[in-house]
Subunit: 202 residues, 2 copies
DNA sequence: CCGCGCATTGGCCCAAAGTCCAATATCGGA
DNA sequence: TCCGATATTGGACTTTGGGCCAATGCGCGG
């Protein structure tokens, strides 16, 4: 059961908005969770969350922009849509600079919100795929011992075994063994594939 | 004489704004060119332009957003800062979604504008460096003949000479020759470097 | 103290790649 | 029609890389 469905996290201090937007999104087939404040959302938030966040800007306690900052500080890649009644230009610009998917003003047309949510979910999926790819590659690299990692780095730059040996103060034979182990551990059979793998780990 | 300095391109239908902003930027050491309309800027614009664009939003003829679209359609990577007196939230969001560096409202604090211009120039420099790197790599790849390019693609995936030969319907010896030529033409001495080069060309 | 993981090194053999040599064939132009 | 670029192939030789078996030394935790 790895399939935790995508969730739309709603954060707004106005209960009427939470209910209205929640109903709209649910009727569109979304799974929705509502929070009356940024703090309550943060308390319930876990890193692996999938979906997107629809948040108000001005709220008692932490504001929408502060919530956005908190998420980025906490490596959370949850895409954010701001939905506010009292938005001004500088705020919207800050939000967009901070990576928000969209910045909508109430009252919002249903279609507009649904499209924004769709775009946010798409972005989230792409991010997760890219992240999983990176993580997978990094996990593989982490199986290398310190010495193997050194050899790996030299292999990336296309050095010959004898050159690596000279650089590491050993003999070619030793590097040959390390090289074979590195290729085996990383599940590749050529230097080309090894370089590609390193690129995926970024 | 390759050193065409960075220029700030000012586009605003209000002559007073052109003069005031122009004076501010010039006093900060910038080279400035002013245009009273998007059309006049477009007429004078050439692809290799370096610097950034500071544009108004609402103007007779082409608007700021339409100018932004025109630039992106024309592959121009000139970073854009919008500076407008009558900006609303939806417009600013569209501008930022379209890749604008910033969206400022008049009257603007001098420091704010200067910082935005600085950020835009920085972004432009990064883009040019990245672009030059890509173009260089692509130019190298374009020196390959069709056949060499086929061999190149197989080398990227880590295939052996005999495997490439089978795929291309020739013998290993022939591939060996092509392989040597490819490495020589591209100025690399290992498959690892070749893969890196291909990555730069993207 | 012993086992285990890790780094190190040796020998042997074979496969693959790099480097010279040279030769033929085709195709599009000058 | 002859030239130049390209593709093709062969031979011979050297250098590198990969696989297999074996062995030593070191440090760490049971």
């Amino acid at each position: 059961m790895t399939e935790a469905a995508e969730t739309i996290f709603l954060v707004d201090d106005d209960d009427a908005v939470l209910r209205a937007v929640g109903r709209l999104l649910r009727s569109a087939g979304c799974t929705v969770r509502s929070y009356p404040s940024a703090e309550e959302f943060i308390a319930a938030h876990h890193d692996g969350a999938m979906g997107c966040l629809v948040a108000d800007i001005s709220m008692p306690g932490r504001t929408g922009l502060e919530l956005q900052e908190w998420l980025s500080h906490n490596q959370s890649a949850l895409p954010i849509i701001f939905l506010t009644g009292c938005g001004d230009v500088p705020t919207s610009v800050r939000a967009m600079k901070g990576g928000a998917v969209d910045f909508l003003t109430k009252p919002v047309e249903e279609m507009e919100l649904l499209e924004a949510v769709d775009a946010a979910l798409q972005r989230g999926r792409r991010q997760r795929i890219a992240q999983a790819d990176r993580d997978g590659a990094r996990a593989l690299l982490n199986t290398l011992t310190a010495r193997e990692r050194e050899v790996f780095d030299h292999l990336l730059t296309g050095r010959l075994n004898k050159q690596i040996a000279a650089a590491l103060g050993t003999v070619e034979k030793t590097i040959k063994v390390h090289r074979a182990r590195v290729l085996r551990k990383l599940g590749v059979s050529s230097i080309a594939e090894l370089v590609h793998l390193a690129g995926r780990a970024k």
